[in-house]
Symmetry: C2
Subunit: 151 residues, 2 copies
């Protein structure tokens, strides 16, 4: 990856900081927040989705965004609100993941370019495995291309 | 509920039909498909999201859509593509759920009005429990209202 945008809310802050600390080899760009003061998750989903859309705007939605080596990670308590907000943006395909298998499928079938996680829904250990799986899985194309083009 | 719109793709067809058969007291409106021929999940997510948006268009996004007694259920293999597509629509808050707890939170915190399920991600028994929990849980409002208004 050339860049991984990451953002959270207060509930997701710890897991976000764990990711950055435990994976120093990855090209993180932290879009906030920086403390545990209560914030509204849509603000941070919008910030990340806007930036990722700008950075990848020269790529059609059907193209594997991973070729451009930029993706996003959004973390809140359940991950649900982050995924809803991020998917308001046409160039974003945000996948809420709770297992390695789900993360793998979201890349292979949906060409997801944003990983959403619920800090209260998965353990830090599982979250780390999901992250690695998401980043290392490739879009399968084929029959999935025409479906992703319709997203 | 006054109405529950439901749609799937070929992978979600069986679970959709199970829901309708096993819960005859619920006011289902089946938007397709009717057989297991391969289809593109975004077509059915769009169909349902469009209809639900029209039916609920007189309600602001912050109001509990359950008061209007109309919601949606979308089922594909993983549920992921359905959730991505449905959330393209501003009045839709589609929650991908894999447990009763996740379904409860999606109603309480995110005021979700569409339940997304992965037919290959949950057992039929868990899916049934998720459905019941989703339909019986209420939006908590309070601090969550300002966040949902930003979705």
């Amino acid at each position: 990856m050339k860049k991984i945008l990451i953002a959270s809310d207060h509930a997701g802050l710890n897991l976000k900081q764990e990711f950055i600390k435990n994976n120093p080899e990855l090209p993180w760009e932290d879009l906030g927040p920086t403390d545990t003061n209560s914030v509204d998750y849509p603000d941070f989903a919008e910030k990340l989705a806007t930036k990722l859309s700008q950075l990848s705007k020269s790529y059609p939605a059907t193209e594997d965004a991973f070729k451009s080596e930029i993706c996003g990670v959004l973390i809140c308590g359940s991950g649900q609100g982050m995924a809803i907000k991020a998917n308001r943006f046409p160039q974003i395909r945000a996948a809420l993941c709770w297992s390695e298998e789900v993360a793998k499928l979201s890349r292979e079938h949906n060409n997801a370019n944003v990983l959403c996680l619920g800090a209260r829904a998965v353990t830090p250990e599982v979250a780390q495995k999901i992250l690695k799986t998401f980043l290392s899985s490739a879009f399968e194309g084929g029959r999935h291309s025409q479906r992703v083009a319709k997203l």
